[in-house]
């Protein structure tokens, strides 16, 4: 009989004020709640139905207008107004316009901190795991009820512990690690569970890799995630699962992984990227909350430096935050993209969810470093999306077909 606590049990014990064990239903108050311009308006509408003008939630509430920013039409513009006016009235944190995509931004700004439990009206709230916080996505009504009641209910998730060791090959990134995990767990292998990663220092993965790993755990169904990356010297024992806790363990040797790809129409359809080499592409999209980081932009620039995007290919690059954008300008990466003939967009969710700024036409094929390739995800239901790391996506832009560098 295990007596130690899993990481999730520690986090949920704290916010519920009781000893919480996997499978228990508990009520608790998260430390922070955030919402955005597409799924936020329904939250506010619902709040009014529950309890007009009475917010009992005492944690921090943050509004980020990132999904359709800059607004593309009057409806999206009205949504942003609605969210912003409401936030100002309630005294919530309204993140300045154009600062970036919430999941990446709130970590960058230090608003999501180690040890916190945060909830968001967005499934990729799990990205908080990269900051060693537990992020949990909620629907709009759940969020409205939390804000009105000051608490919400959770089922304490069981834990899948992924122990990662080995030296990664050149052109293999955190994206390939999480795609490898998808190949093991499929699209629901972690359903309702917490995915905890223990990444050895020798893997040589950085905090941007952590972000892309945590972000896609929801694609395996995870409720939350937490990443312990040994490249940092901190002692995480107070947050990690205890040795004698009840976890399901999976071991992964990253040295055995080659660049991978998720082919249409599921992030669980995993193959070696080289299996799809030569596939014609119409668009390349580098950005989003999982892989719009400075590391991704550096990797893409390495592939595009001194080269030209293939005629007829739309190459769209979206830094996830304004600071990443600024850093990319300083490092000359933006010049590299412009010289190569790519389009650089301001930080936004953009075409990642088929919203704006690069929506795919019927029959078009896109390779991208985003997190989902469901049918119709980036536009027309007859379009096709392949997911890869940024090296592969950028190299494919140059050749107009799926290309694996170094292969």
């Amino acid at each position: 009989m295990e007596t130690g606590f899993t990481s999730a049990e520690k986090f949920f014990s704290r916010i519920s004020g009781h000893e919480a064990r996997s499978g228990d239903f508990v009520w608790g108050e998260p430390d922070m709640a955030y919402m955005h311009d597409v799924l936020g308006p329904l939250t506010l509408d619902t709040m009014k139905k529950i309890n007009e003008d009475n917010v009992r939630f005492r944690g921090r509430v943050v509004v980020v207008n990132d999904h359709i920013y800059p607004p593309k039409d009057t409806t999206s513009s009205n949504n942003i107004r609605y969210m912003s006016d409401f936030a100002r009235k309630e005294g919530w944190d309204l993140v300045p316009f154009g600062e970036g995509i919430e999941h990446t931004l709130l970590i960058e700004k230090g608003m999501i901190k180690e040890g916190m439990v945060v909830v968001g009206t967005d499934s990729h709230t799990v990205t908080a795991g990269a900051a060693r916080a537990m992020g949990i996505g909620l629907g709009s009504t759940d969020m409205a009820a939390l804000l009105s009641l000051g608490k919400t209910w959770f089922r304490v998730p069981e834990t899948t512990l992924l122990n990662v060791t080995g030296n990664r090959k050149k052109y293999v990134t955190g994206k390939d690690l999480i795609l490898k995990v998808m190949s093991i767990l499929g699209t629901n292998g972690a359903n309702y569970r917490s995915m905890e990663f223990n990444i050895a220092r020798e893997c040589n993965l950085n905090t941007d890799d952590d972000l892309s790993i945590a972000n896609m755990t929801v694609e395996a169904g995870a409720k939350t995630s937490i990443i312990f990356n040994r490249s940092k010297t901190t002692d995480f024992r107070n947050l990690q699962s205890d040795e004698d806790s009840a976890v399901t363990e999976i071991k992964i040797d990253i040295s055995e992984i080659d660049p991978l790809i998720a082919f249409p129409y599921s992030p669980g359809n995993i193959a070696k990227a080289s299996d799809y080499a030569g596939t014609h592409v119409d668009q390349v999209y580098i950005g989003n909350c999982s892989n719009g980081t400075i590391s991704d932009l550096r990797e893409a620039a390495e592939m595009m430096d001194g080269r030209k995007v293939k005629d007829g290919v739309k190459a769209i690059i979206v830094p996830a935050t304004r600071n990443i954008y600024r850093e990319a300008i300083k490092e000359g990466l933006i010049d590299t993209f412009i010289d190569a003939g790519a389009t650089v967009s301001p930080p936004t969710c953009g075409a990642c969810a088929g919203l704006h700024m690069g929506v795919l036409a019927k029959g078009e094929v896109c390779i991208t470093n985003i997190n989902r390739n469901f049918r119709g995800r980036m536009g027309d239901p007859e379009s096709k999306v392949y997911i890869s790391n940024s090296y592969v996506a950028a190299a494919s832009a140059i050749n107009g077909k799926i290309t694996v560098p170094g292969a």
């Binding site: 239903f25 629907g139 709009s140 969810a353 088929g354 919203l355 469901f374 995800r377």
Partner: protein
């Protein structure tokens, strides 16, 4: 009696509530519900119909529009071998019954069936299917017709 729409595995939230229409009013979004999976779903679905699907129904986004559109279009209950966590929770919150199927489904697409809620069973002329209903707090919320009424009750009780 209900007509049953039979769907496969991994019906995701982009299929149920496509992202490109999410910023528009629900009336507009409804027209595109499941359009990439069932031809003219919005036009053919009738009040009281049910869905029986495979594994991982509602995977992907936290968008509550997914269960909301189904419910608004008249879908009475959704049954699946398994649900994604967010869809399951959202369905309960908006008062759409999610039942987990136990055993193999022999229904034909669009066949007339009867959902016997008290018996946790769906029956057709030739076959039947046992289901597991939500439990605990989830069931209490569902019995209150959704989270809005449940939360209102909690507030007045305090």
């Amino acid at each position: 009696m209900s007509r049953v729409f039979i769907l496969g595995d991994d019906v995701d939230t982009d299929a149920i509530a496509p992202g490109g229409y999410l910023h528009l009013p629900l009336e507009e979004q409804k027209k595109h519900c499941l359009e990439s999976v069932v031809k003219d779903f919005a036009g053919s679905v009738k009040d009281g119909d049910i869905i029986v699907a495979g594994e991982n129904f509602g995977s992907g986004s936290s968008r509550e529009q997914a269960p909301l559109l189904l419910k608004d279009l008249g879908i009475k209950a959704v049954f699946a071998k398994s649900f994604s966590r967010l869809f399951y929770r959202n369905a309960i919150n908006v008062g759409l019954f999610p039942g987990t199927i136990k055993g193999a489904c022999d229904f034909r697409n669009m066949e007339e069936v009867h959902f016997q809620m008290e018996a946790n069973r769906i029956i057709s002329q030739n076959s039947e299917l046992d289901i597991a209903p939500p439990q605990g707090i989830a069931l209490e919320i569902l019995e209150a017709a959704g989270m809005i009424d449940y939360a209102r009750k909690l507030i007045t009780r305090d």
